[in-house]
Point group: C2
Amino acid sequence: MQHTDISTIGEFGLIDRIRKIIDVRVDDSSLHDNLLMGIADDAAVYRPSQGKVQLFTTDALIEGIHFDLTFTSFMHLGWKSIVANISDIIAMGGTPRYATIVISLPKKISVEMIEDFYRGAVSACKKYSCLIVGGDTTTSMANTMISVAMVGEADERRIKYRGGATAGEYLCVTGHLGSSLAGLNVLKREKERFAQTPDQHAFEPNLEPYTQAIEKHLMPKPRLDLSKILTEQVTIGAMIDISDGLASEVHHICKNSGVGAVVHEHNIPVDSVTQKIAGEFSDLPTEYALYGGEEYELLFTISDEQYNILDKLTNDVTIIGRITDKNKGIELIREGGEREPLRFGGWEHFKL
Amino acid sequence: MQHTDISTIGEFGLIDRIRKIIDVRVDDSSLHDNLLMGIADDAAVYRPSQGKVQLFTTDALIEGIHFDLTFTSFMHLGWKSIVANISDIIAMGGTPRYATIVISLPKKISVEMIEDFYRGAVSACKKYSCLIVGGDTTTSMANTMISVAMVGEADERRIKYRGGATAGEYLCVTGHLGSSLAGLNVLKREKERFAQTPDQHAFEPNLEPYTQAIEKHLMPKPRLDLSKILTEQVTIGAMIDISDGLASEVHHICKNSGVGAVVHEHNIPVDSVTQKIAGEFSDLPTEYALYGGEEYELLFTISDEQYNILDKLTNDVTIIGRITDKNKGIELIREGGEREPLRFGGWEHFKL
């Protein structure tokens, strides 16, 4: 890849290059029609859709904490920084609309890498129909830092809060869990193997058998498909996206809803690649699911009756437990039948 | 000040402490009434005001680039990170509403410093009536990084774009310019003196005579007062906030409006403290105004007729030049009468 120093084109030159990449059409033409001003002014201006409430969220990716540039391309970073925010909007039952991106870069980063970043961000925007309408590009002394903010919309009565769970409901998840951490572990192992290889030119990373997990880590796909079903075709209780690991999300729902929960370990859906990886690392696959995070699957609660309707609409939802009374606490029933409090934890910063 | 390590309370413990600080009432009660969910869920939820368009902006402050922790308190950082965004909303003719804050911190930063940061942010929010409704707190490997996103509202027909200037209009600024860079220069000089003092315990920084400029640098105050007058009581052409220096903002207005401009150096308003500081550094005070930035004053264009109305409403606006035809270019007329192209520049990253 070519390497153009940012200093040769300056901040405003860079912004012009970025502008060309983000200037795309997306499927939902109302996004274009309602946007009165994009990145060419002090702030973006848009008309909110009639009768909708606005959602507003933000999420950051910091080099050395959330990603390692030795095995994360700028394209993947762009994708991930956008979908982390889309996932939050989806988890409220909303639709993503507009995004701003702050990117802070050390001087070693080239113009081409930044263009790749925006290409990744734009491909996520095209897939989920949202537009990049603003941002800030700055230098950084040491690490790359990305911070995305996003606004979305929803019908007020269709919004799903963390606090909406009721005792007796099923606790369900979409998709499979644990793969993101499994994929990350493989990437880290190959980085380590590379570092210890005497002839690094001849090094071939062993990634092929693990593609599914690695892709889940590098290019996670928020469940807009299922979120639409869950908010439009059935009535659910609480909903949250799994960004910090299943365990901490169960705790969030219980805390905000004033309820307890019981999670059956043997019901936690883990795919075969993740099981294989966990085996190679002598880890419990369900630990990846409970404490891994960055999945962007959905955790939600639903009554038995509504579940029966949902069950006919999708095969991609798994019941992992029940919501209980608050005084029952938050329990995990292990594969062997032992009951224990579900440890609160997950991808928590500052404790690592 | 006490120094509590963040690791002793963890990310969620930290969020609880932050939540207590940001949970305040502001004067505009519609901000509270229309906020359906603040920081306790995946995204904030708010009802947009009837008939208003939404404004959306973001701005970042990076340690080592935008601030130096040896002379910038976390309280000031909190203030500045919020007002930088408020300034963007105001420059569109809008009213700030809700903000999210991403703060990424190296481990050396204490819980008390972070609390100070949010106290500063909240005092800006109280002054300008906006609410902090979300965010992300993460660790950072090296430097402190702050990224704020903000939404605001405006009457669609009162929005002021950079592209609204017409040849023949006056070019005006609010307040005085150049003070922010002047204040920064004094702070840097005192830092240098401190470093070179053998007995650092006895060191007394000499800041008192420069308070006005230092305060402008550390606690700039966006001109909501004048923005209201400019959008509600008169009709102006284009408007922009002066965040990168007067010269680059003039260029932005000219580029977006397809016009030229002439700026009279002797009309650029510079206060006496800034003149004194520039003198001590053997700098031209107008260079501070043209290429300093971080002022958060407003640059706007207005017809002679409308200016006559404005002139009766405020004493805090100065005519610095005229908008001209595009083919006249963008000119600076020096104090001595020499004409030269107004050099495009200012606080541009990557060129430094």
